[in-house]
């Protein structure tokens, strides 16, 4: 065990404890499960005891031979005490601290754990409320960081209001809007005041204004940079309030209808249909030709048990979709897009637009008559989990509003038209390319849907015949690119371009495109990728001379980008 001295070294007064109820909220299952299991396994004993109590035998029994009852009661009390001590210790040893640069969490009684996340690397902050936390008005904060894998730091649990305040503060600072909100507490009180005026320009890279960088001169003073940036004078304590904008809401009926029309629903309908026909067939056989053949058919045919795993899988899938989309609302706040959803556990997740690496809009075959779409994103740190869904099911209008907020301006004349072409169009008579007819031999079915289109700010790729997909990637977000070609493709003079993004649900592939066009695209995208990092990645804690160097490089990069954007894309 750790002594007093070790604890002193481990914590000091600056560390804050989490809410005392948190172990209970997190470990309530143990509290409920242990007595429940105990009760269920000794059901007979309990009922005997109850009967004895009612008949009055129990009192006599205890008086004549109290030892087993004392032991039983003592063991129960000891267990309760142990759980209580365990919870208290775990609460006592879990502390967090928020400094100017880091969020730090320490936890663990025997095995100590210290996690810290750099605030300027925070990708997204999620607020989770499981059922019990909702009742107790508590919430869990999760910080997603670009470096490392998975959630970097979790604060569980805080009072909901406190959690919300912290979230706003950290998001503001991650986005660079708030320089140093509480100087007395931090090691670098001057960091904000010294060059916050110039800081604000660069940090617009983290806001929706990302695509505006190449257009406006970077040497422009901060006053003209943008409404929310200009509103923050040096060392300001609070960012200017921008009213929240409602983006989308998913009605429950639409969610359920979309689930039925989705892949899970189709599987369930198929399985149920097969069963019904099977049942009908067997009954019919039974009816017409006596028992013998029917039982034979029963034995060789489908056993009902075969379908059960499928149904369980479908139910689990449905449950995931239901909790992921229940009461889904998307609101644009100053810190980013705020998504709220959940059936038993309420999740509030905030995604800053500047952290979106790529976006994909999908439409399944059966969603087409209703005009519904799903939107998923790649955000570094989210990986492949369910939080990558920006919109579980929405109308074209919802999707437009969402992408307008979360994605840089496409910088084309008629973005809606391009958009609809990407979602529904096919063939190469529009703006998008298509797989040339000479490659129809090995790509006959999806050929006319596969195509790409470049705008000055982003690359759009459409794909999918049954499930239509439109993938959009800002040029600045590309990590690297690869051009691939197999023997058949070489024979038909086509090639495939693979754009590499950080780990996430989106794969960016422009398949089987015309060799000339795709080579041009490869050149263009690698060119963008090479210069883009200078534009977007910017450290909050740069020294003045580094800053000057940065501005120079940005100016160069902007010129390069503008040159690259000047001749319109090949198609």
């Amino acid at each position: 065990m750790t002594g007093d001295s070790a604890r002193e070294a481990w914590f000091d007064a600056t560390w804050t404890k989490v809410h005392p109820l948190s172990p209970l909220v997190r470990g309530w299952v143990t509290i409920v499960a242990i007595p429940a299991a105990f009760f269920a396994y000794n059901w007979e004993m309990w009922s005997n005891l109850w009967n004895a109590w009612r008949s009055g035998e129990l009192v006599d029994n205890v008086q004549s031979n109290p030892l087993p009852y004392l032991i039983g009661g003592g063991a129960f009390l000891a267990l309760a005490l142990l759980i209580f001590i365990g919870f208290t210790l775990s609460w006592w040893f879990t502390r967090y601290k928020i400094t100017a640069e880091h969020v730090m969490v320490k936890s663990g009684i025997l095995v100590r754990q210290h996690r810290q996340a750099r605030i300027d690397r925070v990708q997204a902050v999620d607020l989770r409320q499981p059922l019990l936390a909702r009742i107790a008005r508590l919430a869990e904060l999760r910080f997603e960081v670009a470096e490392g894998d998975g959630t970097a730091a979790t604060l569980a649990f805080l009072r909901k209001r406190e959690a919300e305040r912290l979230r706003t503060e950290i998001m503001d600072r991650a986005a660079g809007r708030l320089a140093a909100p509480n100087p007395r507490q931090y090691d670098h009180p001057a960091a904000g005041t010294a060059h916050s005026a110039s800081l604000n320009v660069g940090n617009s890279a983290d806001s929706a204004a990302i695509s505006h960088i190449p257009r406006r001169s970077v040497h422009e003073p901060a006053e003209t940079a943008g409404p929310d940036e200009a509103a923050v004078p040096a060392g300001a304590q609070t960012p200017a309030a921008v009213p929240d904008r409602h983006i989308a809401r998913v009605p429950i009926w639409r969610l359920i209808a979309s689930m039925i029309c989705g892949p899970g629903g189709v599987v369930v309908v198929l399985v149920v249909g097969i069963y019904l026909t099977y049942l009908l067939l067997t009954t019919a056989l039974l009816w017409f030709s006596g028992e013998q053949e029917a039982s034979v058919l029963m034995e060789i045919g489908l056993q009902p048990a075969v379908g059960i795993p499928i149904l369980i899988g479908a139910v689990l899938g449905f449950w995931g979709q239901l909790t992921g989309g229940w009461n889904f609302t998307a609101t644009m706040t100053q810190a980013g897009l705020r998504l709220k959803y959940g059936l038993t556990t309420t999740n509030t997740q905030t995604v800053p637009p500047g952290r979106v690496q790529g976006i994909q809009i999908q439409q399944g075959l059966l969603w087409r008559p209703f005009g519904w779409y799903r939107v998923i994103v790649t955000v570094a740190g989210y990986g492949l989990d369910s939080r990558t869904t920006l919109l579980p099911v929405g109308t074209a209008g919802d999707v437009m509003r969402l992408t307008a907020e979360m994605f840089p301006d496409l910088r084309v004349d008629r973005p809606e038209q391009i958009f609809m072409e990407g979602l529904q169009g096919s063939g190469d008579h529009g703006s998008f390319t298509a797989v040339p007819a000479r490659a129809a031999l090995f790509d006959p079915w999806v050929r006319r849907r596969r195509g790409f289109f470049t705008t000055p700010s982003a690359l759009l790729i459409r794909d999918g015949r049954m499930t239509r997909r439109l993938t959009m990637v800002p040029h600045e977000r590309i990590q690297s690119a690869a051009l691939q070609q197999g023997p058949l493709a070489r024979w038909r003079r086509v090639a495939t371009l693979h754009i590499h993004l950080p780990a996430g649900p989106i794969t960016v592939l422009a398949q089987n495109q015309d060799l000339q066009q795709i080579r041009q695209l490869f050149e263009q995208e690698t060119g963008y990728a090479a210069v883009a990092r200078r534009l977007t990645d910017r450290n909050q804690w740069m020294l003045p001379e580094e800053l000057a160097e940065f501005e120079k490089n940005v100016a160069e990069a902007v010129e390069k980008l503008d040159d690259a954007a000047a001749p319109p894309a090949a198609p």
Partner: protein, 170 residues
Amino acid sequence: MLHSEAIDPAGVEWTRVDEKYITVKFITGITGWLVTFAILGVPLLLSWTGVWTLPLWLQVLVIGGLVLWAGVDLALVPRRVRAIGYHERADDLLIRRGLLWQRVVAVPYGRMQYVDIEAGPIMRKLGLCTVQLKTASAATDATIPGAVRAEGARLRDELAARGQARLAGL
């Protein structure tokens, strides 16, 4: 000097990896095929000793097919190694590979997170190493196998310096 393939960017002179890497590929390739033959040889051995009965045509088909495949695979090794190339451009590194299935990847220096150098026992013996570039994306898969160790070290320092130069611009 490699001749230019259809997907190679225009005006790129590929730097080839060392010829000794062919030896490495031969050794690993032959070992791999020997293991395959050993595993597939068990049923054949059993059938010759009379424990199993395999039809003759199947035996001929399996042995013939495998020998042919192994022969073609090993015969292509030199050309496959000669198809590996890299080229340092002003802002990114290009790496190509593949004979039948070709791939050219471009990794911007500014996107590199770190450069790895590794060498197995055979590679060490021949003074070679594998240079691997990592970005934030797992899909990047940019490796230069079979560079001479000095060249590998030069590449690592050069790439790191270039990445740093791009990053210092931040």
